[in-house]
Amino acid sequence: MSTSATITQRRHALYGWMLLFPSLVLLSLFAFIPTGATVWASLFTRGTSRRPSEFAGLDTYAHLTSDPVFWKVVTNNLLYAGVSIPLSIGIALGMALWANARIPARGFVRTAYFTPTMLPMIAAANLWLFFYTPGIGVIDQITGLFGFGPVNWLGQPDTALWAVIAVTVWKEAGFFMIFYLAALQTIPPELREAATIEGASRWTYTRRVLLPLLMPTTLFVLINALINSVKLIDHLFILTKGGPNNASKLILYWIWEMAFAYFDRPHAAAMTVFVLAVLGIVAAVQFRLIDRRAHYR
């Protein structure tokens, strides 16, 4: 290799690192170092003014897993994800099929579906509070017409989480619709014509042609929905505060509460490590998809 080529290479490396430097500093400050610090903090006991914190190994994790609230929160989050993800993706697909069809008032239909996406979750929660108010709320007024009594949707353990899930689905479906709508518009209409000529029913066409073609979009949406199922908790602050009796508490809210209401940093850290591990698995799957799918390039 000639010297000038080596010099160019070195110069490129220098420029490269210089350009990356500011981003790497910030990523270190707010992603890499905090990740390490979280793992570290989870290995210590909670310090008080009288007893300083000391190394505790995996004690905090043992505590955590023997705490019924931990399992309650994990179960809640699994239920939250397990219900809201398929529901919002399914509704999104239906919305996209409708919004892509030639129907009257299509502009209004699309706007109506997508608008919740543009609202802050806090605002969405305020709007829904009105729906859920026992007795005088919109839902109770409607069910009242059919002779049902008032229900305290947010105030009882049986319904609180479901009420939260409904708001999430409402917020998310329109967002996912956009991706399906775009994917649908890239599907050549000849496929449908061919299917019609072959005598395929609409259901067969959807199942055999549309859904396979929409698979990459579904994967993309699914990854997004998985990440959001950890992240989307803002409405809890307005609607239920995780209650009653932890019935609607989700993991991130619990972390927030542990850290900033009870000042129990080790437990918050241990729970965070747990979430990071799960997100790490999602990331690993996703990176393999990036390798495989032209969709992401």
Binding site: P22, I178, D234, I255
Partner: protein
Amino acid sequence: MTEVTSPATPRALPRLDLDAVGAIVLAVVWISPLLFAVWAAFHDASGAISFDLSAPWTLDSFRTAWAAAPWPRYFLNTTILVTITLAGQLVLCTLAGFAFARFPFPGRDVVFVLVLLQLFILPEVLIVENYAMIARLGLFDTIVGVGLPYMASAFGIFLLRQAFKQVPKELEEAARVEGCSWAGVLWRVYIPAARPTYLAYALVSVATHWNNFLWPLVVTNSVDTRPLTVGLSLFGAPESGVDISVISAGTIMSILPLLLAFLIFQRQFVQAFLRVGIK
């Protein structure tokens, strides 16, 4: 909304069939929370709850809501927040994206994967340690402190890297032959070529940070820094004792700017979400 390419079948008038009815019913259901909030905001509490169509319309709720919280300050804080966050993101992600797209050096791929990991290590999840970091940097209760963790956005870096990679090498070489420096090439060739990506990213960033709640809640502690979302949550909390009409009025007020922007620039917003999602 999106580039609507009607199916290539012969043009016919839209028909009001079962599909259309279903689509419109769902649309009305989907928009109804917003419609009810508008209804409630323009009536007094009892009129709002009874759905009495003859109930008198009034602006009282808006007056009460406006007087009950320092809204202009919240609006200003949010505007400053989204502006400095976006500015930081554009500068940092441009530099990093350029490095990843055009400067081959040992270790680049490893660093790139590290950066991409941030897509999953959400700032929200690291909230406790990020809060400690912000406190250490002396940025607690500052608007910069709210924006800083989002500035080196892995997502922005990834998007701009993709956009820069699509710029033909010949353009760059031509500019280099003309005596353009690296900075000049970046400024004259790459940034203009990536303009649609910048626009899309900017719209999504503004919408995201306008709506962000949890992190600002943790980092801000005073009226001077609190963004709209946090202000709205304090205002709407049941213990604040305001009635449904006033809460609705406050909610409508605080979502109005972004909602109006969305209704006017709908096509751009939707394409922005698409572009950053699909690229």
